[in-house]
Each structure stands twice: as structure tokens, then as C-alpha cells.
């Protein structure tokens, strides 16, 4: 009951926070900032999602907010929407630290110390984020 409540609140609160952030134009500003740095365009959704995930904790909320933040930028990025979504998804992997609820649930149920969780969960997630981003870039370069 406790956990299902947390999940429900995550979803609803995430949607509301996403709408609010989209109204303020924070995501567009963030995206334009990354665009100005003249990075490759496929990196922009990845970085936006990674920044969001670092600041606020839940992976679900990040994936709910990030599309509405990036929506005004998608025509400028010249990317197919599938690639944008997958690049965003791999951005949410990158950082999972003490403000992530999954971090604590993982440690609590597996009976691990926080330092062990850092080495297993956080580093593993970062590795997988990098691997999946490389894969998506490869797919984008070769198939689009």
C-alpha cells in the first residue's frame, strides 16, 4: 500500500511538475543553452534528461517531464521522435544517487550498505546509460 501510493503520487506530481516547468520555458532555455554549445544534436535530449534526473529524483517523473520540455525544440533538432525518446531514456540512466527513491529501496531490500549501493547500482546505471547512448548514436548514424 505504501509503495503503490508512492508510485501514484510520483505519476500525478510528475505530470503537474512537467506542466509547470513547460509553462516557465525552463526546458527550452536548457535545450537552447545546449544547442548554443554546438554539441551534436543527439546529445541535447540526453543531457536535458540527465540534468533533470540529477535534480529531481524519480526516473518516472523525468520521463514524464522531459518530452513536454523538449517539445518546442524537436523541430529544430532535426531528429526523428523515436531517437529523441530513446536518447532521453538513456539520459535518465546516467545518474542515480541519494535523492533517488529506487536507490534506497534497492539498498533496503537487498540489505546492503549505502557505499555498496553506490558501487553496484549507481556505477552500473552510469555504465548502462553510456552503453545505450552509444548504441542509439550508432543506430542513428547508420539507419537514418
Amino acid at each position: 500500500m505504501r509503495r503503490s501510493g508512492v508510485v501514484l503520487l510520483d505519476l500525478c506530481g510528475g505530470g503537474a511538475l512537467g506542466a509547470t516547468l513547460a509553462m516557465t520555458g525552463a526546458g527550452e532555455a536548457l535545450g537552447r543553452f545546449f544547442l548554443q554549445l554546438s554539441l551534436p544534436h543527439i546529445l541535447v535530449p540526453f543531457l536535458v534528461a540527465a540534468v533533470l534526473q540529477t535534480v529531481q529524483r524519480s526516473r518516472v517523473v523525468t520521463m514524464l517531464i522531459a518530452p513536454s520540455l523538449l517539445l518546442p525544440l524537436v523541430p529544430e533538432l532535426w531528429l526523428p521522435p523515436e531517437i529523441v525518446i530513446l536518447s532521453m531514456a538513456s539520459g535518465t540512466f546516467l545518474i542515480s544517487h541519494v535523492n533517488d527513491s529506487f536507490f534506497w529501496i534497492f539498498g533496503e531490500l537487498a540489505e546492503l550498505k549505502p557505499s555498496e549501493v553506490f558501487r553496484s547500482n549507481t556505477l552500473g546505471n552510469a555504465l548502462m546509460g553510456i552503453v545505450s547512448f552509444l548504441l542509439i548514436s550508432t543506430v542513428y548514424v547508420f539507419f537514418y
Partner: protein, 172 residues
């Protein structure tokens, strides 16, 4: 490894936290039975859950993102699976080698738990277990997945190649 396989298939379209919470007792039990370090098993479980949750189409976050950006669902599904498999293999290799990096020092609680679990019913852990055959065990998972994949592939073929369209129309 068991848990990776089970989990990657089962947490399709599920919340990764929920999948993790449901499967962690099984993972602990398996770790105790097979003498794996339990940190590796738990990590494999967590990483597999997160991967399939983030990438594979029927998961709720991907659905909402796809609707918002009006993405092509078929292509997203196939690409997602294509990316999930190598990524979760990377996660599996990482957690398998956790011990080699010198990070998997057992906490005392885990050791005590292992002994306790094995003491409850020693016959189960020492005697040869009656195992269901692999195909039997996996068929309820694979069959729906195969059907979904088949539909997607068929749709893609019909939608994207005029050749097949004309062939099928002629056949009909």
C-alpha cells in the same frame, strides 16, 4: 543470470520498482541456493528492471513520451528491444564482475540470511531439485512476446514496402 532472464522478460510494461520489489525474494533465494554473491544477483535484478522499464515500448513512461512527441510506435518498439538487449548484457557483465573489482564484500546480515535460509529446509538445498524443462518454464513469457513481435513485423512489412503490399493484395 536466472534473475536477469526472468526479469528482462517480466518487467515489460511494469514499474521497475515494483518489479524489483516482487522479484527480490526470489533473487535472494536463488543466490542462497546457487552460492552466488547476493549483491551481484540484486544488482542484476535492479539493472535489468530499469533497462526494460526505460526502453521497451509498453512501459508507461515510453507510452506517454511517444504520445507526446507523436512517434512511430512500431519502429520505437523494435528499436527499443534492439537497444535493451545489449544494454542489459552490459549490466549483467558489470554485476557479475562486481566481486572481481573487490567491491562485493558481504555484509554480515546477508551471510546470516543465507545460513538461516539453508537451515530451514536443508533437504531442498542439498537434494537434487526437480526442475521444469526450460521451454516449459519460459513458454508463457515467450509466446505473447512472439505474437506481439510477429504483428509488429508484419505491420512494418506491409506499411513500408509497396512490393509486399501488392503481393498480398494479389494473393487476396
Amino acid at each position: 543470470m536466472f534473475s536477469l532472464e526472468i526479469d528482462c522478460l517480466n518487467s515489460l510494461g511494469d514499474f521497475h520498482i515494483l518489479a524489483y520489489v516482487i522479484f527480490i525474494p526470489i533473487a535472494k533465494e536463488l543466490a542462497a541456493r546457487l552460492d552466488n554473491p547476493s549483491i551481484s544477483t540484486a544488482t542484476v535484478l535492479a539493472l535489468g528492471a530499469v533497462t526494460s522499464f526505460n526502453f521497451v515500448y509498453p512501459s508507461p513512461v515510453v507510452i506517454s513520451a511517444a504520445e507526446e512527441l507523436s512517434a512511430n510506435v512500431d519502429r520505437l518498439f523494435i528499436l527499443g528491444i534492439f537497444i535493451t538487449v545489449p544494454t542489459s548484457i552490459a549490466g549483467y557483465l558489470y554485476s557479475k564482475n562486481l566481486k572481481k573489482f573487490g567491491t562485493a564484500d558481504f555484509s554480515d546480515g546477508v551471510k546470516a540470511k543465507t545460513v538461516e535460509v539453508q537451515a530451514i529446509d536443508p533437504e531442498i538445498y542439498n537434494g537434487p531439485a526437480e526442475r521444469p524443462r526450460r521451454l516449459e518454464a519460459y513458454s508463457p513469457l515467450f509466446f505473447p512476446l512472439l505474437l506481439i513481435l510477429f504483428r509488429q513485423v508484419l505491420n512494418t512489412l506491409i506499411l513500408y514496402s509497396p512490393f509486399w503490399e501488392t503481393q498480398i493484395l494479389r494473393f487476396l
